[in-house]
Amino acid sequence: MRAGSEPPSDAAATTSPPAHVTIRALSKRFGDTTVYNDFDLDIPRGKLISIFGPNGCGKSTLINMIAGLIPVDAGQILFDGKPLSAIKFGYVFQNYREALFPWLRSFDNIEYPLRLMHMPKPDRRKRVERLVARLGVAVDLGRYPYELSGGQQQLVSIMRALVVEPEILFLDEPFSALDYEMTLFMREQLQRVFLETQTTTVLVSHDLEEAIYLADYVLLLSRHPARIADYVSVAAARPRNDETLSRTDFVATKAHCLEIFQREVSRA
């Protein structure tokens, strides 16, 4: 068990740029189930990492612990050596319908975290307008969230997370409630956001192709207690597009990830 969990983590440390987030000796139990036990992970700066693994292995638990939504039982999570409370971060929920505030217009939803920071109104407006222009978003932000399509709502959620200019962005299965057409569109939007902002991004995905397509590194987790089954570097150049999906190196990476995934699933 121990032997398996260490080398990939070390390998990632040597091949990747300096770590932004360092996770050390993380432990978490739910009742009798040990989800994480003495878990170490480095998340590199300015990269997009996808977390992928068998159902119930603790993918969401991991980012929720990093983002402070769930307390850890033991261990340490630091951002450039600082605790979570000292940094700005953004979090995008899977369920955009329940994460946005339906009583606020989309523009005011995006502005809300700035209001919590006591930023004066004119500055808030300027900040949101700058973000909209930068991302080239074509959504009528004067509308209420429930008047927008699912994809547009999730785009508003992503903008709400980005407006504080976070050091790190967390996305928990952000597209899994969307139909396929919208999912493809939103992948491109997220890639564009990432290229535009170069924010360290942690994405939980249940779609292997999506996880690889968007990522610089794919973190493959085992069944719980979760270990790093592999930490795969995805070299394909950005911006990626449909052609990327059929290139031999992409197909090879996908086959490799799938093999490890299957191995972890069958391990009883």
């Binding site: 983002a67 402070g68 939504l69 979090y91 929920f93 369920n95 329940e98 994460a99 946005l100 505030f101 339906p102 009583w103 809300y112 975290p113 919590l116 920071m117 209420y144 429930y146 709400r160 504080v164």
Partner: protein, 251 residues
């Protein structure tokens, strides 16, 4: 054809009036007990315009509205307070449910002793009944606030107070309006019953009761219709308020 759909409710009203005429003509019921619709509507019209029915109507409106305001003023803040902590609500839930299930009319003698014969008793019993209904709905609205939405505010750095003010309160509004609609309906029921029996000289309940005592049947039906219109109108008013201020309800 679809353009006529908004007028469909008229069908039921027309049907009822036709049935009423038929019942009078074939003398199913003693004509003294069932007057013609025209006589009834004339009694309603003349009663409401300058007659005693109009002032009785206003008295009932005043009592019902006062009772609802008092009930809301107590139950909404208390409901928010209790709902904010699920364990606190669970510890008083049985007491609330018990008195919510107790017919408020059974409380009249007690309130008579407390407040004497007069408006204070009628209004306070109605407020008591309405308050429990509103309280229960507000508390549930607060407790059932979407966890994701609360978490979203928290993760953006909102303090507990900000989460309460910016999210929980707004989340509970749709359920609060359900409570207000049910509360005002119950308040009207209690006020009308109180006006019938406990030393009353005015109000729609009193009007119905007195008309029946002297067999002034058109007047009695007129007062019943006035009470029906009042109940319907109050409900509609809250629905329109909800649509205006809680535009996201059900979406």
């Amino acid at each position: 054809m679809r353009r006529l759909d908004p007028y469909l409710p008229i069908v039921g009203v027309a049907g009822l009036i036709v049935l009423w005429y038929v019942a009078v003509w074939v003398k199913i019921v003693d004509p003294v007990l069932l007057p013609l619709p025209t006589d009834t509507f004339r009694a309603l019209w003349t009663g409401m315009i300058g007659g005693k029915l109009g002032s009785d109507f206003l008295h009932t409106v005043e009592r019902t509205v006062l009772a609802t305001i008092i009930a809301s003023a107590i139950a909404i803040p208390l409901g928010i307070f209790l709902g904010a902590s699920e364990r606190l609500y669970r510890s008083v839930e049985f007491v609330i449910d018990f008195f919510r299930s107790t017919p408020a009319s059974a409380m009249f003698p007690l309130f008579l002793v407390l407040f004497g014969v007069g408006d204070r008793t009628k209004i306070s019993v109605a407020a008591f009944g309405a308050a429990l209904v509103i309280l229960f709905n507000v508390a549930y609205g607060v407790m059932n606030a979407r966890k994701t939405r609360l978490l979203a505010a928290k993760v953006m750095g909102a303090s507990r107070l900000r989460v309460l003010m910016d999210v929980t309160l707004l989340e509970s509004l749709p359920q609060t309006f359900v409570g207000l609609r049910n509360g005002v309906s119950l308040a009207l029921v209690i006020v009308v019953v109180a006006e019938m029996f406990i030393g009353s000289t005015d109000g729609l309940g009193n009007r119905v009761f007195e008309a029946q005592q002297i067999f002034a049947m058109p007047d009695m039906y007129a007062a019943i219709f006035a009470a029906g219109a009042l109940g319907y109108g109050l409900n509609l008013m809250f629905l329109l308020l909800e649509r205006r201020f809680v535009h996201w309800s059900g979406k």
